[in-house]
Symmetry: C2
Subunit: 367 residues, 2 copies
Amino acid sequence: MIQISLSRRLRRTPFSEGVEAAGVAAYTVYNHMLLATVFRSVEEDYRHLKAAVQVWDVACERQVEIRGPEAAKLVQMLTPRDLRGMMPGQCYYMPIVDETGGMLNDPVVVKLAEDRWWISIADSDLLYWVKGIAHGYRLDVLVDEPDISPLAVQGPRAEDLMAAVFGEGVRAVRFFRFGRFAFQGRDMVIARTGYSKQGGFEIYLEGADLGMPLWNTLIEAGWAMDVRAGCPNLIERIESGLLSYGNDMTDENTPHECGLGRFCDTGTAIGCIGRDALLRVAKEGPVQQIRAIVIPGDPVSPCDRHWPVMAQGRQVGRVSSAAWSPDFGTNVAIGMVRMTHWDPGTEILVETAEGPRPGAVQERFWN
Amino acid sequence: MIQISLSRRLRRTPFSEGVEAAGVAAYTVYNHMLLATVFRSVEEDYRHLKAAVQVWDVACERQVEIRGPEAAKLVQMLTPRDLRGMMPGQCYYMPIVDETGGMLNDPVVVKLAEDRWWISIADSDLLYWVKGIAHGYRLDVLVDEPDISPLAVQGPRAEDLMAAVFGEGVRAVRFFRFGRFAFQGRDMVIARTGYSKQGGFEIYLEGADLGMPLWNTLIEAGWAMDVRAGCPNLIERIESGLLSYGNDMTDENTPHECGLGRFCDTGTAIGCIGRDALLRVAKEGPVQQIRAIVIPGDPVSPCDRHWPVMAQGRQVGRVSSAAWSPDFGTNVAIGMVRMTHWDPGTEILVETAEGPRPGAVQERFWN
């Protein structure tokens, strides 16, 4: 197994001490920041996430903050999703596209006020694109990366743990909404969002000083609920069909290819920079698309590069994420498949690390 | 020791097979790509780099390619360095700054032709900034990340190895110039550049198919020169004062703070987006600046976060990179120090991982 070299460039977070004390076994790097990937084992972490509650250091979901009179205009320029109905207090998942409709990021965007937004980014320096656009169009906005570090609480017992720390009011926060709750005298934005389908919240910690107090309070309050330090879990996220930018799609792909066409209101998202290109895609439809793929049989190795998807000796797609699912007793995978082979039930061959393995396109994801 | 979790998001390179076969011990992530940091040990790799020749997979130095009639104009917008005298065939190290003069990257830029440039980037998605600016200003250019993977050959015997593979003509390539040389029938740009002060070249491999053939040819041709797989070496780069973007500086810093004022022609770099802000800095001078710092005594641990630099009980700077130097018998470090304490010989206290250690500001770096 190969080590990770730590350096200041791979930034620590306000919660790193807690992650280390909990015995993190492996890291990845996400937005130039450390992100835990394993504590006990991917499978043990998975079982626990589905049964109890975990605290995740997802400070690597850095925020791009946009403030000013033209903030709303700028956010609409970034995405093909129609934002006219979005109210302060709401969170939207939105594809961010360039002028060709290529995906630059797929964040959750938090609308704090008409003139103040947070873009909670996936793994790319979206700040640079937003700053470049704001500058190039001479928009009346301020764009920067504030000192905000999200901490996620995920799992079936997440709501109980959050209520124990922030009060019963937190139970009233609806899916993809947020409220403000006090912790040690400071207000924090708390949203019912998160990178799992087990339910839960994300706490937007402003400033680093309360990082470890918040972490420790959650861990202590959750003792009777079997709380543990955790992290986004590869198996659970594939079962749930949660895409990972950089793994499952890149700026080569349109939202439509990623199955995100429902977030593209190309008829009404006036101002979106990629709109012209996406209108064309919406008319013609994509020629390849993300699919759930099942690979029966023995567990496959992790997918650290594209695995070609073959049929009749020709490449018809690629798998980008795969894991053995204990709950479903098979390998679950995410892939991009050409339209000739994307119908549910289509049999394909996946060139895994262990050689070609029969698989099939699924109608939907597992969770 | 903590492992790195491999995934498709941490991209492999055309040379990864060679790196693995050579027994890479640790990786970092750089531009969403794997970069080896250690083979035998940092110290053993260091001694070998200074004595022989190494082949480095630096494919993570991704290229931002700019083509079109307004390419030169766009490149000048990105940097305060005056590009009027730059000829095709030249490479320039250039700070890239935003509208406030904050550094977004510090690449080597290759001028292929008046209308075609490569920006060989440090660790940030500079592509997004360049695309945003090009789009916002409606410039007549194409901007993308082509499939180009640099491979470095570094060390005192680098020229001999390069001549053995590419012919004697490669010896005539001057420092920060490039030429075109054939390998297996394909032309490659080869520049006399690299992230060490031991001398050497960088080969810009276009297309991935010749990656392993090129790697293997260099390793085989260098057998008698004791060639090894290597990587940028922490000790050597600190001794040499080679800054690392994300470690030693970020977008918080101006080029002047980084000691890169000599690359800022704010009087003549007409069109540079950050020029107004940097004119102000140039007039007033920075209040903190990068310095070489010596920390005598026992070896310190790697610097994985900022170490405060103290004097008279107050913080006067921070160290961002540090390593034990066998050749100089002391710890060598890079830090940012306030003007009150930046004069050579000033004694300071560095709060290392092992606690406070006396140190001093040096006049210059070691190599």
